[in-house]
């Protein structure tokens, strides 16, 4: 009897340890990714020099002598993301206010479903539609020789971040206490004034989090952007063919070697640092919103 009890205890302890290890798998994965990205990203930065690498305006990895400046990629990613936010946020935000405050339950359900579908469509499908619809359209509307450009990428990205913005904003707007709105209505404000001047400010940190999430999605997107942006390492201009941080890594990886390959890992490191920063801001905003 006593023996079986101690056996039972050992079994319990073993099982608890197993679950602990499973729980730590996420932590292990984050460590693995961080360590690999840092270790493989540092050598090329050391060899090229941090300033030359980050602020060099010319990327010519296969030329002799090669030149490894990633400023074009950084700026393209920043402008591309900024543009996508500029286009996507107003649409997403207004849709979210409508769905959260105005729409009847049934409409809200159906439109939310449509927005989820938007989130589920694979990025290569966006890329394909962009290649076949957007790129020719830009070429003929703006009369430029090639429609594969920063503008095409911005439009595709703005559509791709729409679901994140709508969903997170709706969650934030739904959580605004009804008393706020009732008080505002009782004081004589119209419904529209109540929603935009009471509900929206009350949900502002959640909406800000939605925008930051959109930034993260846009800056990390690779395949769709690769298919519509032309992929030439130019400094960013709206109608120029450009290369993003993500696509810079993806486009040369398959045939790269030596310092060129290491430089690609360094680009990934820069991208990773951007993402960590964005994640930190996102979490801060969400936590800040909860505390209020």
């Amino acid at each position: 009897m006593k023996q079986s009890k101690s056996l039972k205890r050992t079994v319990e302890r073993v099982i608890q340890t197993i679950f602990l290890l499973l729980g730590l798998a996420t932590v292990g994965s984050v460590l693995l990714i961080t360590v690999y990205i840092i270790i493989s990203g540092i050598p090329a930065i050391r060899e090229i020099g941090l300033v030359d690498f980050l602020f060099g305006k010319k990327w010519a990895s296969t030329a002799t002598p090669p030149s490894y400046g990633i400023l074009p990629f950084i700026l393209t990613s920043v402008y591309g993301t900024g543009g996508a936010i500029l286009l996507g946020v107003p649409v997403g935000f207004l849709t979210a206010v409508y769905l959260s405050k105005v729409a009847p339950k049934r409409v809200k359900e159906i439109v939310s479903e449509a927005v989820s579908l938007l989130a589920g469509i694979p990025s290569v499908v966006y890329g394909l539609v962009g290649m076949l619809v957007l790129v020719p359209a830009i070429r003929s509307v703006f009369g430029v020789p090639d429609g594969a450009s920063l503008l095409a990428a911005i439009i595709v990205l703005s559509v791709m971040i729409l679901p994140s913005i709508v969903k997170v904003s709706i969650t934030a707007l739904d959580a605004v206490p009804e008393e706020y709105e009732q008080a505002s209505l009782a004081l004589g404000a119209t419904k529209m004034e109540t929603w935009f001047r009471v509900s929206v400010p009350a949900a502002k940190s959640g909406i800000a989090a939605a925008i930051v999430l959109g930034v993260g999605r846009a800056i990390g997107e690779a395949m769709a952007v690769m298919m519509v942006s032309g992929n030439v390492p130019n400094m960013p201009e709206l109608f120029q063919s450009v290369r993003f941080l993500t696509t810079a890594v993806a486009s040369e990886m398959s045939y790269s070697s030596g310092l060129q390959r290491q430089a690609l890992f360094s680009i990934a490191l820069v991208l990773y640092l951007f993402i960590l920063l964005i994640n930190a801001v996102f979490n801060m905003l969400l936590k800040g919103g909860k505390k209020q």
């Binding site: 984050v30 207004l94 990773y272």
Partner: protein, 289 residues
Amino acid sequence: MSRKTPTLSKRRKAYGIVMQTLMLGATWFTVALVVFLVLYVMIGGLPHITWEFLSTAPSYLTERIGILPDILNTVYIVLATLIFVLPLGVGAAIYLTEYATNRRVVVLIEYAAETLSGIPSIIYGLVGMLFFCQFLNMRTSLMAGALTLVIMNLPTIMRTTQESLKAVPQSYREGAFGLGAGKWRVIRTVVLPGCIDGIITGSILSVGRILGESAALLFTAGFAHAVNGLFKGLSSAGATLTVALYVYAKEQGEFDVAFGIAAILMLLTLIINLSATVVGKYFQRRKNS
């Protein structure tokens, strides 16, 4: 004499009308966008889907392009990913809700999961290539791709399971403990059956994500188009449907093929979204009753 009703100033009225129009406009725009995307891909793609397209491998001799290998590769990678990610994710969730007593460990694990879900897939692809393909010497193979996707989908499974575990009433656990059951027994008989809905929802979401993933697979699973059995397939390189779409559209200019694959992917996305909603509603109703 009629009573004077309070009237709004012109400016306030205009504000209301403008905001109303903008909101409706934005919502209609969003809906129109979704409808356009679905119809465009379906109308452009469905005509290219024939039995031969679905059931053959590409052949240079007959200049025929079939996507059977890509379909099989996708199925293999989905299966392999789920087999690994389910125990990991469910286990992590069980640890967090049932075992963890140290607040710091909980915060650490949850923060790690949040970080994971924010990392872009190209970074996963890169680390997968370095770690699984090179360090663990798995070369470019479906298995390496699947293991990369395991890390990517870990937070999803963990979160959905956690949500459903929170809904298991504490009294169930207490009842089982009161009857003399050990912790492990309580988990097996009370907790696990209670989180089935979370596991199913998580699996559906993960399948959707795996189907749509391309950047993480390009350098880990590669882009070969050979028909293989499950085990041979997992150890050799292969393109999933999304990767095949990319290669056909971008590298080979075969837009008809790409369109056909896009239509299949769109159809699968529709099915997955629909089933996620239906399953979610079903479990919700069961919980409420």
